[in-house]
Amino acid sequence: MAATTGALGGFLARPMGYTGVWGWVTTVDAKRIGVLYLVTSLTFFLWGGVQALTIRTQLAQSGLTVVSPGLYNQLFTMHALTMIFLAIMPMSSAFFNFVIPLQIGARDVAFPRLNALSYWIYLFGGLLLSAGYLTGGAADTGWFAYAPITEKTFSPNKGMDFYVLGLLVLGISSMAAAFNFIVTILNMRAPGMTLMRMPVFCWMTLVTSFLLVTAFPVITVALIQLLFDRYLGAGFFISSRGGDPLLWQHLFWVFGHPEVYILILPAMGVVSEILPTFSRKPLFGYSVVVFSGIVIGFMGWSVWSHHMFTVGLGAVANAVFTVSTMLIAVPTGVKVFNWMATMWGGNISLKTPMLFAIGFIALFVIGGLSGVSHAVSPSDFQQQDTYYIVAHLHYVLFGGSIFGLFAGIYYWFPKMRGRLLGEGLGKVHFWLMFTGMNMTFGPQHWLGLDGMPRRIYTYPSNMGWDFWNLVSTLGAFMIGVSLLVFLYNVWRSFSHGEHAGADPWDARTLEWTMPSPPPLYNFARIPTVHGRDPFWDQKYATDRSGRTHRLPAGAQEHDGHVEDVQNIHIPDPSYFPIFVALGLALAALGIAFHLAISVVGVAIFLIAIYGWAFEPTVEPRAHH
């Protein structure tokens, strides 16, 4: 106690409340942080969608002038950045936060305040990344930002600075969160929860976290080099100065391809939870699914140059990356087989989460198959940088990641809110989004093969591209409508949805043993785990003949001892994470505007870190 007062106690008394706005701002509870992540990422997702619809409106017909060429280039750049860094990644984080501690039988994550810090850095970093719109133009060089167009000579405005600074700041958030989840998953599992008994979602979180801590340093190096180029004239990526624009491409894609798996593996984890629950069967070939996830994570490092088949690396390099890229289809294919086998012989309930999970498999497989045609480099020479690639990547990231994450929202919303999302509206949402998705991106395969390049703000009327572009645009608006249905569903179900109870889906994992929403301390008693589907095994027993039957409620086994809830020590809220994040964001902002802002930012950062260091996780309570 003395330490806190000694540091900053005079003007920053420790927050103790769990209610109201300050309760949210100072929270270190992983469940609340999960909700913050979810709400923020959904907001950015809608913003990314607005940008996408503007792009599709501009391209609906040849020669339209809905937006200027300059704004168009900002829109497609920011659409990608928003969706990747501010929507999909943090939406996965939302589930890491909310679900992982519950699934492994823990009361919180390993470092609760660091967890809050990750969220606040994400929020401020996201605003920083988007800030270019307010200062004369956001980044407009594509999310891949190929040098030398990113150099001051070609991109003098602030948008590019916000790209660099925003991504640097966001990288800190991702790395901090990843370390946190690695430690949480490795160290905080309940007794008996061995690694090979963990739910697959935990496994995929672990693999994703390792990818994050290894991939982000690479892009960080590249971004700092670019920062030096822009501010100090270093010339890392300027060939006339002895630098090399291809250095950027290599660094970017060495990060960028693992990033693709950072986006898809959590969704695969979500789907691996939902399929068994709604099929009433355990996941088929658990160890193979886990192992193939790990293999995908490793192989994700060996395929980056397939993004660079047309830069002239030569036949040998292209051959190597052709083969390594095709090999990654093997573990992916194995996962799909196992998912199908999980459903086979099951009793499949087609509730909304399951529809999204099956939609995920269907669309992801289409994306994987089209992927083979540009894994093969001579065939890719025609497809690279065309709408064929746009179609492919959206089948994987929209049909894959987004469908997987929406499956997760429908699945875990009841646990978060205690109420189910409307089933009828959910089905309407699914079918509109599924149809709209195929209408938007299906025709783009054809457009690409018909020679339509990516990133063009207009095209002439005689190219024969008008019709399918119009179809694609209509599909995009159908996706937009489906999201309105979703929002309405959330709004209505928030206070009028059917009460969920602890276990609305007859699920198999530990999070469903708790009331919905779970209490602050999660588990009143830390459970002891005896198998892969601990909750299922409490509810069901299989007799000698192989028949499984439900145990009467009274006979269900409970072990572990009940603690006095009053005695459970959970971390107290803290002001410091948000201040550290604010200081960091201001320090970055100052680089783009005026160093005085940086000085203020660094000061806030240092003071907050100092206060943090001397603040105990749990405030000792005099009356205990």
């Binding site: 594509g142 190929y146 195929n438 063009i456 005689n462």
Partner: protein, 355 residues
């Protein structure tokens, strides 16, 4: 229709759209940038490989969707059937077995892929040489001296090549990364500042009226969408004639009369907005000052298109261009010189005399 039957309908719809798309391939082979209408050896090889992969993947696609739909429909929960299925955790032999087909399938694709890759990598020894220089946002083509071309030719945005002869391109960029792509002749190749990157293709039939279409495929800034080009593939004797035409000096300014002569004077000697003169940026053989910033205009009158292929080379379009270049091609390095209608008329007359 019960909800559980609807996947069938949606998939059917999707397959329908897909096959309709493929049907269009057959119906409209004149799509200007269609990769399905290969007109040269390289593009044909790449297309054959694509078809090969396509059919292999189409087979997987159909097999997979039949299996998925069958599984979901057969094992869906029916009303009143609330039983607990057998709790199967896995089947090791089966799991090992189904890693094999993906391997086999990929091997089937990989073998032709690698062989085509290496075959197309090296340009044939007897190829004609052309240097390609990418600029924001136009193409410069340079035919160095070589058998059949006695003195070097420099032109822009319109590439003339003889049918049946491989052409080797040595490419570089003066500013950012571009990508040279003529879909009917070959896949694309990126162009990187200060590097010299080689690719080749060959036209096996003459181009239709207006040439084979192409455009920059790597995002290169504001007017990336407007960085287009055409390849005029013509019979060898016609190509020779074109070469001869390009090597014959255009009519010297002193021999011009009327509007064109006045235009020549404007072009060479008059400073417009910002002290700019046409010759500061553009070369016309025979002029005293020969700028190298913009396209070489020595034979601009003989080209079909101007402004990186976004306008026709007609008096009207040339006039539109001269009136406000960045208005036509956003970000164009050529500024609006605030020319009067009279000046434009004279300049157009001069430029069109340069054949």
């Amino acid at each position: 229709m019960p909800a559980s039957n609807r996947p069938f309908f949606r998939m059917g719809l999707f397959l329908g759209i897909l096959s309709f798309g493929l049907l269009l391939v057959g119906c409209y082979p004149t799509h200007f940038q269609s990769t399905f209408d290969a007109a040269g050896y390289v593009a044909e090889k790449q297309l054959t490989l694509f078809y090969y992969i396509f059919w292999a993947m189409a087979f997987v696609f159909v097999a997979f969707f039949v299996a998925l739909l069958y599984t979901v429909l057969r094992f869906r929960r029916r009303q009143g059937h609330d039983e607990i299925p057998r709790q199967v955790h896995g089947h090791t032999p089966l799991e090992i077995a189904w890693t094999v087909p993906p391997f086999l399938l990929l091997a089937v694709v990989a073998v032709p892929a690698i062989s085509v890759l290496f075959e197309l990598d090296t340009p044939p020894a007897d190829a004609m040489e052309v240097n390609v220089i990418g600029h924001q946002w136009w193409w410069e083509f340079e035919y160095p001296e070589q058998p059949g071309i006695l003195t070097a030719i420099v032109t822009a945005n319109e590439l003339h090549i003889p049918v049946g002869k491989p052409v080797k391109f040595t490419m570089t960029s003066t500013d950012v990364i571009h990508s040279f792509w003529v879909p009917k002749l070959a896949g694309k190749q990126d162009i990187i500042p200060t590097r010299k990157i080689v690719m080749w293709f060959q036209a096996d039939r003459a181009s239709p009226e207006g040439g084979f279409y192409g455009q920059c495929a790597e995002f290169c800034g504001l007017s990336h969408a407007n960085m287009r080009l055409r390849v005029i593939a013509e019979a060898p004797d016609q190509f020779e004639q074109w070469v001869k035409g390009q090597q014959t000096p255009s009519k010297p300014a002193v021999e011009l009369a009327g509007l064109a002569a006045e235009g020549a004077n404007l072009f060479a000697n008059v400073s417009f907005e910002g002290g700019q003169r046409c010759v500061f940026c553009h070369t016309v053989q025979g002029q005293a000052i020969q700028g190298k910033v913009g396209p070489n205009l020595t034979h601009v009158g003989s080209r079909g298109l101007i402004a990186a292929g976004i306008l026709d080379n007609t008096s009207e379009d040339l006039g539109t261009w001269l009136q406000n270049p960045p208005g036509v091609k956003p970000g164009a390095k050529m500024p609006n010189l605030l020319l009067t209608d009279d000046q434009i008329e004279k300049l157009v007359a001069y430029l069109q005399s340069l054949r």
